[in-house]
Subunit: 240 residues, 2 copies
């Protein structure tokens, strides 16, 4: 497997891209790459390019960008709105949501959310690492945490809000998704669920749509992944 690296710049064949200290450490010290070694790089908007290490020492280095390997194509337009969980579970959500092709991830603060430990920089780093590994050409956008009220207030009118409502209707999830094509978001509550008051507010949103994931009680992180899987299989890019 060739090494893939996300570069936060605008890629083009022939340019030189400087590496930051974390990237240098990874290539030179972790992978023990030498000058002239090859990797693949992507910038989230221009596709994937070959790159060759130059002037690589243990402290600094750069890449010479070579030919384009893959044209850019964005991930499907699905957002994940989730209430942050314990550290390990949040890490898992970010990593798996990236693999499962979420375009945007928004931490949502609800009444029962454990919000003691929301670290956006950590989430962003994990999303990049997961994007590198799963061969995505983009990286999910990690938004700042928003309260549920603010999120609902700003929620775009043209986007379906799939709501995992344990007290809601038990419609077939695949049929429900199939009947709501186009831009979508998936809203998953914290371990303690949403309050009655929160459920009312969510259901008052015009394009909201209950989804049902069976009678076993799924952990919040499992529910987030299950919702993304169903969406990708029905309206996403899992069809050849």
């Amino acid at each position: 497997m060739i090494v893939r690296m996300f570069l936060n710049c605008s890629l083009q064949q022939g340019i030189k891209a400087d590496l930051d200290s974390g990237q240098v450490n990874y290539l030179a010290n972790v992978l023990r790459m030498k000058n002239g070694d090859k990797l693949a790089v992507f910038d989230g908007r221009s596709g994937e390019y070959e790159a060759i290490t130059e002037n690589l020492s243990r402290k600094s280095g750069s890449l010479r960008i070579g030919r384009k390997i893959r044209d850019f194509s964005p991930s499907p337009d699905i957002w994940l709105l989730f209430a942050p969980l314990k550290k390990d579970c949040t890490d898992m959500v970010i990593q798996k949501a990236t693999e499962l092709g979420a375009a945007k991830i928004i931490p949502v603060i609800t009444k029962y959310t454990n919000n003691a430990n929301i670290r956006i920089e950590r989430y962003a780093a994990q999303a990049i690492e997961a994007a590198e590994q799963c061969r995505r050409l983009d990286v999910p956008q990690i938004e700042k945490p928003q309260t549920l009220d603010v999120m609902l207030k700003n929620f775009p009118a043209d986007r379906t809000l799939f709501f995992l409502n344990e007290k809601g209707s038990k419609q077939d999830i695949l049929e429900t998704i199939k009947n709501h094509t186009g831009k979508a978001a998936l809203l998953i509550g914290p371990e303690g669920g949403f309050s009655e008051d929160e459920i009312k507010k969510i259901l008052a949103y015009p394009k909201v749509c209950d989804i049902f994931l069976g009678n076993r009680i799924l952990r919040a992180e499992t529910a987030a992944l299950a919702g993304l899987v169903c969406w990708q299989a029905v309206n996403g890019d899992w069809k050849d």
Copy 2:
């Protein structure tokens, strides 16, 4: 949320069930329950019962089994055959596969499997814990590890083998599952994938069926969960 506990005995209203030291520790020391406190118990075959703690000390105790709360219904007949992974990832597979209703979990040893750390007792304990939390009435059966050859040799002729084959056909996964109702198993390889030789052997099995989970490279544990999600949504018990 009421506490749920799996008891490895045959439950019936009125009987006394002795607790083992781990169960006593959990109820008396972790949850600080007192005599006369209520919980829900299940045995994997008789449904769910109320139970009341009796003679509970920090070292021993028993439960008096009360009325039946829920009749037994087994989980749908889907098996997960997976190549054991690093410890954390295997833990995740066992926990999530239990939540997602796998009836049986078989660790399969393949050419590229990291089999240094297969601990069946640990898997079984995790399956029980996850079953308690997700309100299942049964616990997935955890089989002893089998080599791929032995697994294929013993694989029942009446069961579809859904095979996550990265080099296989890219048929729509939901259609594929829909076209193969009845007993099923899901086979997921290790991080390094299957060898060419292994793929040939698997494809020689008569009821094998490739499944496709998109072009992003999913980690093995993500693929296992995604496959179970799709199966439950199409042929499992996620319809009301």
